[in-house]
């Protein structure tokens, strides 16, 4: 199985992963192979089987509505590769 180039471009765009034209062909084969391989699940009859998202052994715990965090601008920004005063900075976003 091979995924078509348009599909590779579409998912790479969704994932914001820059993919060069040269890589596309390789990814078509590699990803196609993996997808083809996982399609073995198609052999199973899954009618009426309840899907599970995890094996969580409990229900969600709720925390109290208290302010316990914040006022740590320096920690928040300490690793920022682009910063302007108390803000993160990114290339101008046109809306």
């Amino acid at each position: 199985m091979s995924l078509d180039a348009a599909t590779i471009r579409r998912i790479a765009r969704l994932a914001r992963l820059g993919v060069g034209e040269a890589e596309i062909e390789r990814l078509q084969t590699e990803l196609g192979h993996i997808i083809g391989w996982v399609e073995q699940l198609g052999e199973l009859d899954l009618d009426g089987v309840e899907p599970i998202a995890g094996v969580g052994h409990a229900a969600l715990r709720l925390r109290a509505d208290e302010v316990t965090d914040g006022d740590r601008v320096e920690a928040v920004l300490s690793n920022a590769p682009g910063r302007a005063g108390p803000f993160y900075a990114v290339p101008k976003v046109v809306e």
């Binding site: 391989w37 199973l44 899954l46 899907p51 995890g54 920690a75 920022a80 993160y88 290339p91």
Partner: protein
């Protein structure tokens, strides 16, 4: 006692005993390990970051604490931390270029608990990038070498993955023990490849807070150590309820060490027929039979069981884990931390930073995960995988209605050569065929070294237990360990001439 080989060659339990009896100080013990790291790490590449200075400070502090009679569980023991656990003020990379400059302003719950108990951190160990891999070949900081060599062959082998740096360091005696994480086998498979013990506890046993996420519904932290007892000591410190992790389970942490050596007489051990991979070396089957015989000799009742959906575990995993990772890794975008490649639009900045920051395997998984969740494919892949996951869980639940634990091989092969199995991703994925099902079900699994293959490489057997019944695994693991008497040493190790 000050000889480096003696200091580094002992178990964690023996080292803690020696510290308590004042036979050596933590500073001496730590320095011996740091010397060994210095000698071996250039070859093994097991550590990404060595925190020698901090380790010696912590060691001196531990000595003072012990002198005051306030020693915690791990007081003064030099250990290694997988570089997936965020450590305050110490660079945490997840072995990825995109985090190569990341210094967390916080400490993961697991490592904070170890610090609380007095552990000395030697540094941060190498891994597959973002814990995605089974060979440690995908690290942006270079491959890790397994300290073992095939008999009469000096070519380097992989340590397994993703906790390959931790496994290699522990096997080579350049850490007494180490933390790992296991998403689909990342503690158990490298433990098997490196001839040491390792346990992935029940999902929810160790907090995930502050550990770089790969696949949130599967990730679990656990120890790698040279003995089952050492794993028990370390796990007790790592485990525990954490209100900061909504999936952490509020159950008491037992004294796992007390279960080590406990009688296994009368325990029912299931042998699942499906844990035989096509093309699996005959030696693995032989060691498996040997393990069965040992447990029977120890008084266990051996029961044949079936986990019919085992063969679908891996395919299910390679839908679920990439799906979760594609979302978990979206935060690495060059904006708030990590590497950025400048561009004149935000989207271009994202695309370039992520293209430059992630390696091939991580990209593959992000793309697969994006694909299986995308519109029109969700039902065919992700939803289907969720259903199969529920069947896999049911297999285990049913089996544990009849038996106390399962015994299987840990991996379908011994360690392979550096660079092998790299041509096709699926071939690499098959490494985890025996470890993935327990991950999908969230149940605990332990690997114990039992013997060598004909090339002289270690092989491990896997014990799988009921949720939150790690104690049974410690009891059984120590029984196997005792019967196997595994005392082989890797070619590369502290004090040995390489």
């Amino acid at each position: 006692m000050s000889d480096m080989v003696e200091l580094t060659g002992q178990s964690l339990a023996a080292a803690l005993d020696g510290l308590e009896k004042g036979r050596f100080s933590s500073v001496e013990l730590t320095r011996a390990h740091l010397d060994a790291v210095e000698a071996l790490n250039p070859t093994l590449n097991a550590y990404i970051t060595v925190t020698a200075e901090q380790a010696l400070t912590q060691a001196a502090e531990a000595d003072a604490v012990r002198a005051r009679g306030e020693a915690g569980l791990l007081c003064g023991a030099p250990v290694a931390i997988k570089d997936l656990f965020c450590t305050e003020g110490v660079r945490t990379t997840a072995a990825s270029r995109i985090l190569s400059n990341f210094v967390p302003p916080y400490e993961s719950t697991v490592t904070a608990q170890m610090k609380r108990d007095g552990a000395v951190s030697l540094g941060k160990t190498n891994l597959d990038e973002f814990a995605m891999g089974s060979s440690n070949m995908t690290s942006a900081f270079g491959a890790v070498q397994n300290p073992w060599r095939r008999r009469g062959d000096d070519s380097p082998l992989v340590p397994g993955g993703s906790s390959g740096g931790s496994a290699s360091a522990v096997a080579a005696r350049i850490a007494l023990a180490a933390t790992g994480t296991d998403t689909g086998g990342s503690i158990r498979q490298p433990a098997s490849f490196c001839g040491i013990a390792g346990i992935k506890p029940t999902y929810g046993r160790c907090s995930r807070w502050g550990t770089v996420a790969f696949a949130s519904s599967l990730d679990q932290a656990g120890p790698l150590a040279r003995t089952v007892e050492d794993c028990a000591i370390l796990l007790r410190s790592m485990a525990g309820f954490d209100p900061k992790d909504s999936t952490s389970v509020d159950v008491a942490v037992p004294d796992f060490r007390a279960a080590v050596g406990r009688s296994v007489k009368g325990m029912r051990i299931g042998i699942p027929a499906e844990y035989r991979a096509p093309g699996m070396p005959e030696e693995i089957e032989r060691w498996w039979q040997q393990g069965i015989a040992w447990l029977r000799d120890a008084g266990c009742e051996i029961v044949d069981v079936s986990l019919p959906h085992t063969r679908y575990g891996l395919a299910t995993y390679y839908i679920v884990a990439p799906a979760e990772c594609s979302s978990n890794l979206a935060r690495y975008d060059g904006v708030r931390f990590g590497e950025r490649v400048e561009a004149d639009s935000l989207d271009a900045l994202y695309e370039r930073s992520r293209a430059a920051g992630f390696g091939d395997e991580v990209k593959r998984r992000i793309l697969i995960g994006t694909y299986v969740l995308s519109s029109g494919y969700y039902d065919a892949y992700y939803l289907k995988a969720q259903k199969v996951r529920s069947l896999i869980l049911r297999d285990f639940t049913e089996a544990f209605g009849r038996v106390d634990a399962l015994l299987t091989p840990t991996a379908p092969s011994a360690a392979f050569g550096l660079g092998e199995k790299m041509s096709d991703p699926v071939t690499m994925y098959l490494n985890d065929i025996f470890t993935v099902p327990a991950s999908m079900a969230g149940v605990p699994g332990m690997s114990v070294p039992v013997g060598l293959d004909s090339a002289g490489l270690p092989l491990g057997l896997q014990l799988i237990g009921r949720p939150f019944d790690e104690e049974t695994l410690f009891a059984l693991g120590s029984a196997l360990e005792k019967a196997a008497g595994f005392d082989h040493l890797p070619a590369l190790r502290a004090g040995a001439v390489a």
